[in-house]
């Protein structure tokens, strides 16, 4: 009898605790990137507020949002998405608007509006990092080290398979840059039919040598396995494989494409208030700087820049590995989100048709 009562009592208290304990479900890209967010955002947030973070991964967290919102069954509170997806989903009314005033000011008092890099604050989204699509190679498998984006598309100069993200975005831009188009003109040229033809013509030359990847964790794996000799990749993934896992991988910054990753809240998120608290907390100056010590993505706040120091191994200087480092910006392209919001359907249809032929 006593045992029964005790059991009942403990069951009741557990139930009460569950009812009280709040949770926020955060969907991100998995692998080393999710790990950096868990270390820099989730753990300190839970320690400070007691709100538990459930971390979920997807190849691209933007994809489940429409299905969930339209079905009226939203399980994600915060999603980490790319720029063009943030704008597109916001336009379609699938995201909650985020009031800039909830974001804390920089330590020196600069308001958030001025502290974030230009474009990092959108109606429905707050950027946390600047990342880039680069290409990387396995130093043990290439006949000679590639130096420029043109080498990536030249299989006679450096033979071997190439890894590319299975998507028109970034692939077409890189193809044009490899064909000698200056970064500043890429989107103007890609906006014309001839420009698109030109990009596909470049891709045609290496089509039989391409291995397509979809999840960000794949390229370091493909490179390490020797399945490809070079691959496009999210720069942070290569950094982590090279530095934390000592893989013989090297990044080539020529022709890199910079983009934001932004936090968004799907419409009808079950824990909206806590989700906004989480976003405000994780995008403050210190948290963004902390994140940069776990993976080589640049913080979206100017005030975080000076706080970025060493990698979590305690000896690697982070600054030269950032996509925004002066030395890496020689031939860099900034992703034009408006172009992709508009042309995503058309170019991906063409891309799919090209793949199938």
């Amino acid at each position: 009898m006593k045992i029964k009562t005790a059991l009942l009592a403990s069951a009741l208290t557990t139930a009460a605790a569950v009812a009280q304990a709040q949770e926020v479900t955060v969907m991100s890209w998995g692998g080393a990137y999710t790990k950096s967010q868990v270390e820099a955002y989730h753990k300190p947030f839970t320690a400070e507020t007691g709100i538990k973070i459930v971390s979920v991964d997807a190849d691209n967290p933007a994809t489940p949002i429409k299905a969930q919102v339209e079905a009226g069954n939203v399980t994600i509170d915060v999603a980490d998405v790319e720029f063009s997806d943030a704008v597109r989903l916001c336009d379609e009314g699938l995201l909650e608007e985020i009031d800039v005033s909830i974001l804390p000011a920089a330590p020196d008092g600069t308001p958030a509006e001025d502290d974030f890099i230009e474009g990092a604050l959108q109606d429905c989204a707050v950027a946390n990092i600047v990342w880039s699509t680069v290409f990387a190679y396995n130093t043990e498998n290439v006949s000679s080290a590639p130096a420029s984006i043109a080498d990536f598309f030249d299989t006679t100069k450096i033979p071997g398979k190439r890894g590319l993200r299975k998507s028109a975005k970034a692939t077409l831009e890189m193809a044009l840059m490899a064909d000698g188009v200056p970064a500043a003109e890429v989107y103007d040229i890609l906006d014309t039919e001839e420009g698109v033809d030109r990009a596909f013509a470049v891709l045609d030359k290496i089509k039989d040598d391409i291995v397509w990847w979809e999840a960000g964790a794949q390229p370091p794996q493909l490179l390490a396995d020797g399945e490809v000799v070079m691959s496009t990749a999210y720069n942070g993934r290569i950094f982590n494989a090279a530095v934390a896992e000592s893989q013989p991988l090297e990044v080539v910054w020529d022709g890199q494409i910079l983009d934001f990753d932004l936090f968004v809240v799907p419409k009808g998120a079950p824990n909206k208030e806590a989700a906004l608290d989480f976003i405000a907390y994780s995008t403050d100056t210190q948290r963004l700087a902390d994140q940069a010590s776990w993976i080589s993505y640049g913080p979206a706040r100017k005030s975080s820049g000076s706080l970025v120091g060493l990698f979590s191994d305690g000896k690697t200087e982070m600054a030269p590995h950032m996509p925004t480092a002066e030395a890496n910006l020689g031939n860099a392209l900034v992703n034009n989100f408006e172009f992709w919001v508009d042309k995503d359907t058309e170019l991906n249809e063409r891309f799919n048709a090209w793949l199938a032929n």
Partner: protein, 438 residues
């Protein structure tokens, strides 16, 4: 006793009153009541299954078919949180009703458009409306979002005001798409699913050659599925025969080997094939190690059609073995022995005696494997590379990435229709009663 004999009996015995039960009620009524009671009970017994099938099968498929011809992107806006629905583009839709196809958009048309843009701005539906138009005419989306943002500042003459924002606003193909989209019901998604579109005059034409993909993929899906079905049949027939003729103890052991992969997760099996087939994988390493292949000439068995073929054949093999086994097991071996003793060669005995008895199993297995193969998705996505993709991968693309659910629904409906036609053909040629699933 049928009603006819009943009434006859009544007529013979008592011409004025019908037969009655013990408690004096007419027998006919009592019987009817008992029968309807039994029917009701039978219905109640199957009701849970019926409800389940309606809810999880018929309704979703019905919804999907509906979505393939119905899209409200340009006609209604629904607030996700409140569920409140607002009609949009009403003025423009009125203008389309008043003016037939081919009418040059006049100032009234642009005024209607401008008035609708104000509504779009108010209910924040510009992205939604633009997306709907963008499905059929690329680059339209930002025209809508841009124009809606400035909708309040638009002033007459509206044509000039809109042209100042974007000169594409007079494009006849844009107006054709808007006209089609201003009605919620459209067959345009089926056109798109067949690589076709309408030109500015509303005539159906093929899309540009470098955009044609769906018809090609339908054909490839059909072709690969047939090859996979044949491969599984060739591989499964001897296995099933061996299983059916071995003594039960041994055949049970072998049966476990057939079923073991069946119990393993699909993803695990597919990724195991990746480990085996990749160019630095087990098979290639073994061949190079034995000196059969040079290190430079490693076989490409993955990220192409070959990968899809190998992995899918393996994964679908049990679906062929099991129906074959179930028809072969009860075949009496004395038939073949009798044929042999009457002078038939072993080939003739097989062809005339054994094989015909296994046809129901072949039919069942082939139908199962084929239908599963046609809708396969994960395996080709993982090992198919560029040219091993099937139509289901594009359906997934439109479901998850481009978010054009109407097109995904139209593609899925075409696939479903294709399978139903094949099923009908099968019924006509082989007969569905001849099917033995186990």
């Amino acid at each position: 006793m049928s009603d006819a004999t009943l009434s006859q009996a009544t007529a013979v015995n008592e011409p004025s009153a019908g037969l009655t039960t013990a408690d004096g009620k007419p027998l006919k009524q009592a019987l009817l009541r008992a029968q309807s009671h039994a029917r009701r009970r039978a219905f109640l017994l199957v009701a849970p299954l019926l409800a389940f099938i309606l809810l999880t099968f018929v309704m979703p498929i019905g919804q999907m078919l509906h979505r393939s011809v119905h899209n409200e992107g340009f006609t209604w806006h629904e607030d996700v949180t409140t569920g409140h629905r607002t009609p949009i583009m009403t003025n423009l839709s009125q203008w389309f009703d008043d003016n037939p196809l081919g009418t040059e958009p006049d100032e009234a048309a642009f005024a209607a458009l401008a008035a609708d843009l104000v509504v779009l701005r108010e209910v924040k539906a510009a992205g939604q409306a633009g997306t709907r138009i963008n499905y059929e005419r690329s680059g339209s989306r930002s025209m809508f979002t841009k124009a809606a943002r400035r909708a309040n500042k638009l002033e007459a003459p509206y044509k000039e005001a809109l042209l100042e924002l974007d000169e594409d606003w007079v494009d006849p193909s844009l107006w054709r798409v808007m006209r089609d989209a201003s009605s919620s019901y459209t067959a345009n998604f089926y056109l798109a699913a067949l690589d076709r579109t309408k030109d500015a005059d509303g005539k159906v034409t093929q899309v540009n050659e470098n955009r044609q993909v769906y018809v090609k993929l339908f054909k490839r899906t059909l072709f690969l599925s047939i090859i996979i079905t044949l491969l599984t049949l060739i591989l499964a027939y001897p296995i099933a025969h061996l299983l059916a003729t071995l003594p039960l103890g041994k055949s049970n052991l072998l049966m476990i080997l057939v079923l073991l992969p069946f119990w393993t997760s699909l993803l695990v099996r597919t990724t195991s094939w990746m480990v085996l087939l990749q160019s630095q994988g087990v098979v290639n390493d073994a061949l190079v190690g034995m000196g059969l292949l040079g290190d430079e000439n490693r076989l490409e068995m993955m990220y192409n059609q070959m990968g899809t073929l190998i992995a899918m054949t393996h994964i679908l093999l049990p679906f062929m073995v099991l129906p074959l086994y179930s028809v072969m097991r009860p075949i009496n071996p004395s038939y073949v022995r009798a044929a042999r003793s009457l002078g038939a060669t072993s080939w003739t005995a097989f062809r005339r005696i054994y094989f015909p008895q296994t046809v129901p199993g072949i039919g069942a297995g082939a139908l199962l494997v084929f239908i599963l193969a046609v809708g396969y998705y994960i395996t080709p996505a993982l090992v198919g590379g560029a040219d091993g993709q099937l139509i289901s991968n594009l359906i997934a693309f439109h479901m998850q990435k481009s978010l054009n659910w109407s097109l995904a629904a139209a593609l899925a409906a075409l696939l479903l229709g294709g399978i139903l036609i094949l099923y009908w053909l099968y019924d006509r040629l082989v007969g569905i009663d001849n099917l033995k699933l186990g």
